[in-house]
Symmetry: C2
Subunit: 253 residues, 2 copies
Protein backbone atom coordinates (compact mmCIF):
# COMPACT_ATOMS: atom_id res chain seq x y z
CA UNK A 1 0.00 0.00 0.00
CA UNK A 2 1.26 3.41 -1.00
CA UNK A 3 0.69 5.61 2.04
CA UNK A 4 -0.35 9.00 0.62
CA UNK A 5 -1.07 12.43 2.14
CA UNK A 6 -3.12 14.83 -0.01
CA UNK A 7 -2.41 18.51 0.61
CA UNK A 8 -5.17 20.79 -0.67
CA UNK A 9 -8.95 20.74 -0.59
CA UNK A 10 -9.96 22.14 -4.01
CA UNK A 11 -11.39 20.42 -7.12
CA UNK A 12 -8.22 18.47 -8.00
CA UNK A 13 -7.58 17.35 -4.41
CA UNK A 14 -11.19 16.27 -3.97
CA UNK A 15 -11.42 14.35 -7.25
CA UNK A 16 -8.08 12.61 -6.57
CA UNK A 17 -9.17 11.70 -3.05
CA UNK A 18 -12.32 10.04 -4.40
CA UNK A 19 -10.34 8.28 -7.14
CA UNK A 20 -7.89 6.78 -4.63
CA UNK A 21 -10.46 6.03 -1.96
CA UNK A 22 -11.04 2.31 -1.89
CA UNK A 23 -8.17 1.49 -4.30
CA UNK A 24 -6.26 -1.49 -2.95
CA UNK A 25 -2.76 -0.22 -3.75
CA UNK A 26 -3.12 3.30 -2.33
CA UNK A 27 -4.10 4.41 1.15
CA UNK A 28 -4.85 8.09 1.67
CA UNK A 29 -3.75 8.49 5.30
CA UNK A 30 -4.42 12.22 5.69
CA UNK A 31 -5.85 15.28 3.95
CA UNK A 32 -4.22 18.59 4.93
CA UNK A 33 -5.54 22.07 4.18
CA UNK A 34 -5.28 25.53 5.66
CA UNK A 35 -8.97 26.11 6.10
CA UNK A 36 -10.89 23.94 8.55
CA UNK A 37 -14.16 24.61 6.75
CA UNK A 38 -12.84 23.06 3.52
CA UNK A 39 -11.64 19.98 5.41
CA UNK A 40 -15.11 19.15 6.69
CA UNK A 41 -16.09 17.19 3.58
CA UNK A 42 -13.14 14.80 4.12
CA UNK A 43 -13.39 14.53 7.92
CA UNK A 44 -15.68 11.50 8.05
CA UNK A 45 -13.55 9.39 5.71
CA UNK A 46 -9.92 10.16 6.59
CA UNK A 47 -7.70 11.93 9.14
CA UNK A 48 -7.57 15.65 8.44
CA UNK A 49 -5.40 18.51 9.68
CA UNK A 50 -5.03 22.20 9.05
CA UNK A 51 -1.64 22.25 10.78
CA UNK A 52 1.42 21.66 8.60
CA UNK A 53 3.37 20.74 11.75
CA UNK A 54 1.15 17.66 12.08
CA UNK A 55 1.80 16.07 8.70
CA UNK A 56 1.65 12.28 8.90
CA UNK A 57 4.58 10.15 7.76
CA UNK A 58 3.88 8.80 4.29
CA UNK A 59 5.43 7.41 1.11
CA UNK A 60 4.00 10.23 -0.97
CA UNK A 61 2.80 13.80 -0.45
CA UNK A 62 0.57 15.02 -3.22
CA UNK A 63 0.32 18.82 -3.32
CA UNK A 64 -2.88 20.02 -5.03
CA UNK A 65 -2.97 23.71 -4.12
CA UNK A 66 -2.90 26.93 -6.17
CA UNK A 67 0.24 27.38 -8.30
CA UNK A 68 1.47 30.32 -6.23
CA UNK A 69 1.30 28.34 -2.98
CA UNK A 70 3.13 25.18 -4.11
CA UNK A 71 6.70 26.24 -3.22
CA UNK A 72 5.63 27.56 0.18
CA UNK A 73 3.69 24.39 1.03
CA UNK A 74 6.61 22.23 -0.08
CA UNK A 75 8.86 24.02 2.42
CA UNK A 76 7.00 22.20 5.21
CA UNK A 77 8.08 18.88 3.70
CA UNK A 78 11.87 19.25 3.41
CA UNK A 79 12.45 17.09 6.48
CA UNK A 80 10.11 14.29 5.35
CA UNK A 81 11.38 11.08 3.80
CA UNK A 82 8.49 10.57 1.40
CA UNK A 83 8.28 11.69 -2.22
CA UNK A 84 6.75 15.15 -2.72
CA UNK A 85 4.82 15.74 -5.97
CA UNK A 86 2.64 18.58 -7.21
CA UNK A 87 -0.30 18.30 -9.62
CA UNK A 88 0.08 21.54 -11.61
CA UNK A 89 0.42 21.85 -15.38
CA UNK A 90 2.16 25.20 -15.52
CA UNK A 91 4.70 24.81 -12.67
CA UNK A 92 8.17 23.25 -13.11
CA UNK A 93 9.12 20.31 -10.91
CA UNK A 94 11.91 22.39 -9.39
CA UNK A 95 9.52 24.78 -7.68
CA UNK A 96 9.30 22.03 -5.06
CA UNK A 97 11.96 22.49 -2.36
CA UNK A 98 12.41 18.85 -1.21
CA UNK A 99 14.96 16.98 -3.34
CA UNK A 100 12.83 13.85 -3.58
CA UNK A 101 10.28 15.48 -5.88
CA UNK A 102 8.03 14.80 -8.81
CA UNK A 103 4.93 15.85 -10.73
CA UNK A 104 1.59 14.05 -11.05
CA UNK A 105 -0.46 16.13 -13.51
CA UNK A 106 -3.92 14.90 -14.52
CA UNK A 107 -4.78 16.67 -17.79
CA UNK A 108 -8.46 17.42 -17.35
CA UNK A 109 -10.89 20.12 -16.29
CA UNK A 110 -12.48 19.46 -12.91
CA UNK A 111 -15.81 20.84 -11.79
CA UNK A 112 -17.15 20.75 -8.25
CA UNK A 113 -19.88 18.16 -7.87
CA UNK A 114 -19.41 16.61 -11.34
CA UNK A 115 -18.01 13.07 -11.20
CA UNK A 116 -14.89 12.32 -13.23
CA UNK A 117 -13.96 9.10 -14.99
CA UNK A 118 -10.21 8.99 -14.35
CA UNK A 119 -9.83 6.00 -16.70
CA UNK A 120 -10.19 8.46 -19.62
CA UNK A 121 -7.77 11.04 -18.21
CA UNK A 122 -4.09 11.19 -19.19
CA UNK A 123 -1.71 11.50 -16.23
CA UNK A 124 1.60 13.25 -16.97
CA UNK A 125 4.48 12.21 -14.74
CA UNK A 126 7.93 13.61 -14.00
CA UNK A 127 10.33 12.67 -11.20
CA UNK A 128 13.79 13.50 -9.95
CA UNK A 129 14.88 9.86 -10.07
CA UNK A 130 13.79 6.43 -11.29
CA UNK A 131 12.60 5.17 -7.90
CA UNK A 132 10.30 8.17 -7.50
CA UNK A 133 9.03 7.79 -11.05
CA UNK A 134 8.16 4.19 -10.17
CA UNK A 135 6.07 5.35 -7.21
CA UNK A 136 4.18 7.86 -9.36
CA UNK A 137 3.63 5.22 -12.05
CA UNK A 138 2.19 2.88 -9.41
CA UNK A 139 -0.16 5.63 -8.24
CA UNK A 140 -1.24 6.58 -11.76
CA UNK A 141 -1.85 2.95 -12.71
CA UNK A 142 -4.49 2.66 -9.99
CA UNK A 143 -6.72 5.12 -11.84
CA UNK A 144 -5.83 5.14 -15.56
CA UNK A 145 -3.90 3.34 -18.28
CA UNK A 146 -3.06 6.64 -19.96
CA UNK A 147 0.26 7.43 -18.30
CA UNK A 148 2.84 9.69 -19.98
CA UNK A 149 6.34 10.72 -18.89
CA UNK A 150 6.63 14.42 -19.69
CA UNK A 151 9.29 16.89 -18.55
CA UNK A 152 8.66 20.39 -17.16
CA UNK A 153 9.29 22.18 -20.46
CA UNK A 154 6.89 19.92 -22.35
CA UNK A 155 4.30 20.17 -19.61
CA UNK A 156 4.38 23.97 -19.77
CA UNK A 157 3.57 23.81 -23.49
CA UNK A 158 0.94 21.14 -22.95
CA UNK A 159 -0.74 23.32 -20.35
CA UNK A 160 -0.73 26.20 -22.83
CA UNK A 161 -2.30 23.94 -25.48
CA UNK A 162 -4.93 22.99 -22.89
CA UNK A 163 -5.80 26.67 -22.42
CA UNK A 164 -6.56 26.91 -26.15
CA UNK A 165 -8.73 23.78 -26.37
CA UNK A 166 -10.45 24.23 -23.01
CA UNK A 167 -10.59 27.84 -21.72
CA UNK A 168 -10.61 29.54 -25.12
CA UNK A 169 -13.00 27.02 -26.65
CA UNK A 170 -15.36 27.60 -23.76
CA UNK A 171 -15.30 31.31 -24.53
CA UNK A 172 -16.34 30.58 -28.12
CA UNK A 173 -19.25 28.58 -26.67
CA UNK A 174 -20.00 31.66 -24.59
CA UNK A 175 -20.12 33.87 -27.69
CA UNK A 176 -22.39 31.28 -29.33
CA UNK A 177 -24.73 31.51 -26.35
CA UNK A 178 -24.73 35.32 -26.50
CA UNK A 179 -25.56 35.30 -30.23
CA UNK A 180 -28.42 32.88 -29.56
CA UNK A 181 -29.75 35.14 -26.81
CA UNK A 182 -29.63 38.14 -29.15
CA UNK A 183 -31.76 36.19 -31.65
CA UNK A 184 -34.12 34.95 -28.88
CA UNK A 185 -33.03 31.37 -29.45
CA UNK A 186 -32.19 28.73 -26.81
CA UNK A 187 -28.54 27.66 -26.40
CA UNK A 188 -29.88 24.07 -26.59
CA UNK A 189 -29.83 24.49 -30.37
CA UNK A 190 -26.01 24.61 -30.32
CA UNK A 191 -25.32 21.89 -27.73
CA UNK A 192 -25.43 18.88 -30.12
CA UNK A 193 -23.15 20.70 -32.58
CA UNK A 194 -20.67 21.49 -29.79
CA UNK A 195 -20.53 17.83 -28.78
CA UNK A 196 -20.19 16.56 -32.35
CA UNK A 197 -17.39 19.06 -33.06
CA UNK A 198 -15.46 17.62 -30.10
CA UNK A 199 -16.30 14.03 -31.02
CA UNK A 200 -15.13 14.51 -34.59
CA UNK A 201 -11.51 15.15 -33.52
CA UNK A 202 -11.47 12.08 -31.26
CA UNK A 203 -10.56 10.14 -34.40
CA UNK A 204 -9.74 12.80 -37.02
CA UNK A 205 -7.01 15.43 -36.88
CA UNK A 206 -8.46 18.97 -36.50
CA UNK A 207 -6.71 19.86 -39.77
CA UNK A 208 -8.86 17.28 -41.58
CA UNK A 209 -12.01 18.27 -39.68
CA UNK A 210 -11.86 21.99 -40.54
CA UNK A 211 -14.87 23.33 -42.46
CA UNK A 212 -16.57 26.73 -42.78
CA UNK A 213 -16.35 29.97 -44.77
CA UNK A 214 -12.72 30.73 -43.81
CA UNK A 215 -11.59 27.23 -44.81
CA UNK A 216 -13.32 27.61 -48.19
CA UNK A 217 -12.00 31.17 -48.64
CA UNK A 218 -15.65 32.28 -48.96
CA UNK A 219 -15.26 36.08 -48.55
CA UNK A 220 -18.95 36.73 -49.27
CA UNK A 221 -20.08 34.65 -46.27
CA UNK A 222 -17.35 36.17 -44.09
CA UNK A 223 -18.54 39.70 -44.93
CA UNK A 224 -22.18 38.72 -44.34
CA UNK A 225 -21.26 37.31 -40.92
CA UNK A 226 -19.24 40.39 -39.96
CA UNK A 227 -22.19 42.63 -40.79
CA UNK A 228 -24.31 40.64 -38.30
CA UNK A 229 -21.94 41.05 -35.35
CA UNK A 230 -23.07 43.99 -33.23
CA UNK A 231 -20.36 43.53 -30.59
CA UNK A 232 -16.99 44.86 -31.89
CA UNK A 233 -15.09 42.32 -29.75
CA UNK A 234 -16.98 39.47 -31.43
CA UNK A 235 -16.35 41.02 -34.86
CA UNK A 236 -12.63 41.33 -34.17
CA UNK A 237 -12.37 37.72 -32.97
CA UNK A 238 -14.31 36.58 -36.03
CA UNK A 239 -11.81 38.40 -38.29
CA UNK A 240 -8.70 37.22 -36.46
CA UNK A 241 -9.72 33.57 -36.26
CA UNK A 242 -10.85 33.56 -39.92
CA UNK A 243 -7.50 35.05 -40.95
CA UNK A 244 -5.67 32.44 -38.86
CA UNK A 245 -7.62 29.62 -40.55
CA UNK A 246 -6.95 31.03 -44.03
CA UNK A 247 -3.26 31.48 -43.22
CA UNK A 248 -3.02 27.92 -41.86
CA UNK A 249 -4.36 26.39 -45.06
CA UNK A 250 -2.43 28.73 -47.35
CA UNK A 251 0.77 27.51 -45.72
CA UNK A 252 -0.35 23.96 -46.36
CA UNK A 253 -0.65 24.46 -50.12
CA UNK B 1 -46.40 8.73 -47.35
CA UNK B 2 -44.65 12.00 -48.06
CA UNK B 3 -43.25 11.63 -51.58
CA UNK B 4 -39.89 13.44 -51.50
CA UNK B 5 -37.25 14.30 -54.09
CA UNK B 6 -33.76 15.09 -52.78
CA UNK B 7 -31.75 17.47 -54.96
CA UNK B 8 -28.03 17.34 -54.25
CA UNK B 9 -25.48 14.60 -53.61
CA UNK B 10 -23.18 16.09 -50.93
CA UNK B 11 -22.87 15.31 -47.19
CA UNK B 12 -26.24 16.80 -46.17
CA UNK B 13 -28.13 15.16 -49.06
CA UNK B 14 -26.51 11.79 -48.36
CA UNK B 15 -27.13 11.85 -44.60
CA UNK B 16 -30.76 12.93 -45.11
CA UNK B 17 -31.30 10.23 -47.68
CA UNK B 18 -30.09 7.57 -45.23
CA UNK B 19 -32.18 9.05 -42.43
CA UNK B 20 -35.38 8.92 -44.52
CA UNK B 21 -34.65 5.59 -46.15
CA UNK B 22 -36.92 3.00 -44.62
CA UNK B 23 -39.00 5.54 -42.63
CA UNK B 24 -42.66 4.63 -42.98
CA UNK B 25 -43.98 8.19 -43.40
CA UNK B 26 -41.51 9.38 -46.05
CA UNK B 27 -40.68 7.92 -49.42
CA UNK B 28 -37.68 9.28 -51.25
CA UNK B 29 -38.80 8.84 -54.85
CA UNK B 30 -35.77 10.36 -56.61
CA UNK B 31 -32.31 11.82 -56.04
CA UNK B 32 -31.25 14.49 -58.53
CA UNK B 33 -27.75 15.85 -59.03
CA UNK B 34 -25.76 17.45 -61.80
CA UNK B 35 -22.90 14.97 -61.79
CA UNK B 36 -23.59 11.39 -62.77
CA UNK B 37 -20.54 10.18 -60.82
CA UNK B 38 -21.96 11.52 -57.53
CA UNK B 39 -25.31 9.84 -58.20
CA UNK B 40 -23.78 6.37 -58.38
CA UNK B 41 -23.92 5.80 -54.60
CA UNK B 42 -27.72 6.29 -54.65
CA UNK B 43 -28.45 4.43 -57.90
CA UNK B 44 -29.08 0.99 -56.38
CA UNK B 45 -31.59 2.24 -53.83
CA UNK B 46 -33.66 4.90 -55.56
CA UNK B 47 -34.37 6.46 -58.98
CA UNK B 48 -31.70 9.00 -59.88
CA UNK B 49 -31.38 11.68 -62.55
CA UNK B 50 -28.90 14.34 -63.56
CA UNK B 51 -31.48 16.05 -65.74
CA UNK B 52 -33.59 18.76 -64.10
CA UNK B 53 -36.15 18.34 -66.90
CA UNK B 54 -36.87 14.85 -65.55
CA UNK B 55 -37.83 15.78 -62.00
CA UNK B 56 -40.45 13.40 -60.59
CA UNK B 57 -43.74 14.72 -59.24
CA UNK B 58 -43.58 14.84 -55.45
CA UNK B 59 -45.06 16.43 -52.32
CA UNK B 60 -41.69 17.87 -51.34
CA UNK B 61 -38.45 18.87 -53.07
CA UNK B 62 -35.54 19.11 -50.65
CA UNK B 63 -32.66 21.17 -52.07
CA UNK B 64 -29.33 20.29 -50.43
CA UNK B 65 -26.81 21.97 -52.73
CA UNK B 66 -24.21 24.73 -52.22
CA UNK B 67 -25.62 28.06 -51.05
CA UNK B 68 -24.77 29.80 -54.32
CA UNK B 69 -26.65 27.22 -56.40
CA UNK B 70 -29.93 27.15 -54.43
CA UNK B 71 -31.76 29.93 -56.32
CA UNK B 72 -30.73 28.57 -59.70
CA UNK B 73 -31.81 25.01 -58.81
CA UNK B 74 -35.13 26.29 -57.48
CA UNK B 75 -35.85 27.93 -60.85
CA UNK B 76 -36.39 24.43 -62.28
CA UNK B 77 -39.20 23.88 -59.77
CA UNK B 78 -41.45 26.90 -60.34
CA UNK B 79 -43.94 24.82 -62.34
CA UNK B 80 -44.12 21.99 -59.76
CA UNK B 81 -46.99 21.68 -57.30
CA UNK B 82 -44.94 20.30 -54.41
CA UNK B 83 -43.35 22.25 -51.58
CA UNK B 84 -39.75 23.38 -52.27
CA UNK B 85 -37.43 23.66 -49.26
CA UNK B 86 -33.69 24.27 -48.91
CA UNK B 87 -31.45 22.99 -46.09
CA UNK B 88 -29.05 25.91 -45.68
CA UNK B 89 -28.37 27.87 -42.50
CA UNK B 90 -27.16 31.08 -44.04
CA UNK B 91 -29.68 31.52 -46.89
CA UNK B 92 -33.06 33.25 -46.50
CA UNK B 93 -36.21 31.34 -47.45
CA UNK B 94 -36.91 33.91 -50.16
CA UNK B 95 -33.90 32.91 -52.23
CA UNK B 96 -36.20 30.09 -53.44
CA UNK B 97 -38.17 31.15 -56.53
CA UNK B 98 -41.28 28.92 -56.16
CA UNK B 99 -43.93 30.50 -53.94
CA UNK B 100 -44.66 27.28 -52.09
CA UNK B 101 -41.37 27.35 -50.21
CA UNK B 102 -39.76 26.53 -46.90
CA UNK B 103 -36.55 25.72 -45.05
CA UNK B 104 -35.49 22.44 -43.43
CA UNK B 105 -32.17 23.19 -41.71
CA UNK B 106 -30.52 20.43 -39.65
CA UNK B 107 -28.06 22.15 -37.29
CA UNK B 108 -25.11 19.79 -37.31
CA UNK B 109 -21.73 19.20 -38.92
CA UNK B 110 -21.76 16.33 -41.41
CA UNK B 111 -18.71 14.31 -42.36
CA UNK B 112 -18.48 11.88 -45.27
CA UNK B 113 -18.54 8.30 -44.06
CA UNK B 114 -19.32 9.14 -40.41
CA UNK B 115 -22.81 8.03 -39.36
CA UNK B 116 -25.09 10.63 -37.80
CA UNK B 117 -27.70 10.14 -35.08
CA UNK B 118 -30.45 12.47 -36.28
CA UNK B 119 -32.39 11.97 -33.05
CA UNK B 120 -29.87 14.31 -31.35
CA UNK B 121 -29.95 16.96 -34.09
CA UNK B 122 -32.17 20.05 -33.95
CA UNK B 123 -34.11 20.71 -37.16
CA UNK B 124 -34.98 24.37 -37.80
CA UNK B 125 -38.09 24.93 -39.91
CA UNK B 126 -39.57 27.87 -41.76
CA UNK B 127 -42.39 27.92 -44.31
CA UNK B 128 -44.40 30.35 -46.40
CA UNK B 129 -47.71 29.06 -45.02
CA UNK B 130 -49.16 26.80 -42.34
CA UNK B 131 -49.84 23.85 -44.63
CA UNK B 132 -46.24 23.80 -45.81
CA UNK B 133 -45.00 24.11 -42.24
CA UNK B 134 -47.11 21.05 -41.40
CA UNK B 135 -45.41 19.04 -44.15
CA UNK B 136 -41.95 20.03 -42.90
CA UNK B 137 -42.96 19.19 -39.33
CA UNK B 138 -44.12 15.77 -40.48
CA UNK B 139 -40.79 15.21 -42.23
CA UNK B 140 -38.72 16.42 -39.25
CA UNK B 141 -40.72 14.27 -36.82
CA UNK B 142 -39.63 11.13 -38.66
CA UNK B 143 -36.01 11.72 -37.60
CA UNK B 144 -35.93 13.85 -34.43
CA UNK B 145 -38.04 15.28 -31.62
CA UNK B 146 -35.95 18.46 -31.61
CA UNK B 147 -37.95 20.61 -34.01
CA UNK B 148 -37.81 24.42 -33.88
CA UNK B 149 -39.65 27.05 -35.90
CA UNK B 150 -37.09 29.72 -36.75
CA UNK B 151 -37.33 32.57 -39.25
CA UNK B 152 -34.70 33.58 -41.81
CA UNK B 153 -33.24 36.41 -39.68
CA UNK B 154 -32.87 34.15 -36.63
CA UNK B 155 -31.43 31.35 -38.72
CA UNK B 156 -28.77 33.66 -40.14
CA UNK B 157 -27.64 34.50 -36.59
CA UNK B 158 -27.85 30.89 -35.51
CA UNK B 159 -25.63 29.90 -38.43
CA UNK B 160 -23.13 32.55 -37.36
CA UNK B 161 -23.19 31.21 -33.79
CA UNK B 162 -22.54 27.76 -35.24
CA UNK B 163 -19.43 29.07 -37.00
CA UNK B 164 -18.06 30.18 -33.61
CA UNK B 165 -18.76 26.92 -31.75
CA UNK B 166 -17.88 24.59 -34.63
CA UNK B 167 -15.46 26.06 -37.22
CA UNK B 168 -13.62 28.40 -34.86
CA UNK B 169 -13.49 25.87 -32.02
CA UNK B 170 -12.01 23.35 -34.43
CA UNK B 171 -9.28 25.85 -35.25
CA UNK B 172 -8.43 26.15 -31.55
CA UNK B 173 -8.13 22.34 -31.50
CA UNK B 174 -5.82 22.74 -34.48
CA UNK B 175 -3.61 25.18 -32.58
CA UNK B 176 -3.60 22.74 -29.64
CA UNK B 177 -2.39 20.02 -31.97
CA UNK B 178 0.33 22.27 -33.39
CA UNK B 179 1.57 23.17 -29.90
CA UNK B 180 1.69 19.48 -28.98
CA UNK B 181 3.67 18.71 -32.12
CA UNK B 182 6.15 21.48 -31.27
CA UNK B 183 6.67 19.86 -27.84
CA UNK B 184 6.91 16.36 -29.40
CA UNK B 185 3.72 15.29 -27.64
CA UNK B 186 0.80 13.30 -29.09
CA UNK B 187 -2.52 15.10 -29.69
CA UNK B 188 -4.11 12.15 -27.83
CA UNK B 189 -3.17 13.96 -24.62
CA UNK B 190 -5.69 16.72 -25.41
CA UNK B 191 -8.55 14.59 -26.75
CA UNK B 192 -10.20 13.75 -23.39
CA UNK B 193 -10.01 17.41 -22.32
CA UNK B 194 -11.64 18.51 -25.59
CA UNK B 195 -14.50 16.07 -25.05
CA UNK B 196 -15.01 17.02 -21.39
CA UNK B 197 -15.01 20.75 -22.27
CA UNK B 198 -17.87 20.09 -24.70
CA UNK B 199 -19.67 17.79 -22.27
CA UNK B 200 -19.49 20.35 -19.48
CA UNK B 201 -21.69 22.85 -21.36
CA UNK B 202 -24.31 20.21 -22.14
CA UNK B 203 -25.72 20.99 -18.69
CA UNK B 204 -23.92 24.18 -17.58
CA UNK B 205 -23.94 27.57 -19.27
CA UNK B 206 -20.51 28.43 -20.78
CA UNK B 207 -20.47 31.51 -18.54
CA UNK B 208 -20.51 29.23 -15.48
CA UNK B 209 -18.03 26.80 -16.99
CA UNK B 210 -15.33 29.40 -17.77
CA UNK B 211 -11.97 28.82 -16.04
CA UNK B 212 -8.35 29.68 -16.81
CA UNK B 213 -5.84 32.52 -16.40
CA UNK B 214 -7.95 35.14 -18.22
CA UNK B 215 -11.02 34.33 -16.13
CA UNK B 216 -8.96 34.69 -12.93
CA UNK B 217 -7.24 37.87 -14.21
CA UNK B 218 -3.93 36.05 -13.70
CA UNK B 219 -1.56 38.33 -15.66
CA UNK B 220 1.54 36.40 -14.61
CA UNK B 221 0.29 33.18 -16.25
CA UNK B 222 -0.88 35.10 -19.32
CA UNK B 223 2.57 36.64 -19.79
CA UNK B 224 4.26 33.27 -19.25
CA UNK B 225 2.02 31.71 -21.92
CA UNK B 226 2.64 34.53 -24.39
CA UNK B 227 6.40 34.07 -24.03
CA UNK B 228 5.98 30.41 -25.05
CA UNK B 229 4.12 31.14 -28.29
CA UNK B 230 6.60 31.17 -31.18
CA UNK B 231 3.94 31.76 -33.87
CA UNK B 232 2.82 35.45 -33.85
CA UNK B 233 -0.67 34.46 -35.08
CA UNK B 234 -1.09 32.16 -32.08
CA UNK B 235 0.20 34.89 -29.74
CA UNK B 236 -2.23 37.42 -31.15
CA UNK B 237 -5.20 35.04 -30.83
CA UNK B 238 -4.12 34.24 -27.25
CA UNK B 239 -4.12 37.96 -26.42
CA UNK B 240 -7.42 38.77 -28.16
CA UNK B 241 -9.34 35.87 -26.67
CA UNK B 242 -7.91 36.54 -23.19
CA UNK B 243 -8.95 40.19 -23.48
CA UNK B 244 -12.44 39.14 -24.64
CA UNK B 245 -12.79 36.82 -21.62
CA UNK B 246 -11.63 39.51 -19.20
CA UNK B 247 -13.96 42.06 -20.78
CA UNK B 248 -16.89 39.63 -20.60
CA UNK B 249 -16.51 39.10 -16.87
CA UNK B 250 -15.75 42.76 -16.12
CA UNK B 251 -19.08 43.66 -17.69
CA UNK B 252 -20.73 41.07 -15.52
CA UNK B 253 -19.52 42.66 -12.26
Amino acid sequence: MLRTVIIGTGHVATHLFHAFYGANTVEVVQVVGRRESSLAKFAGAVAVSHNFEQLADADLYLIAVKDDAIAQVSAHLTHKKGLVAHTAGAMPMHCLLPENRGVFYPLQTFTAGQPVDFATIPICLEAQNKASLGILQQLAATITEKVYEIDSEQRKKLHLAAVFVNNFTNHLYNIGETLCQQAHLPFDLLRPLILETAQKVQSLSPTQAQTGPARRGDQKSIQAHLSLLANPIHAELYKKISQAIQKHYEEEL
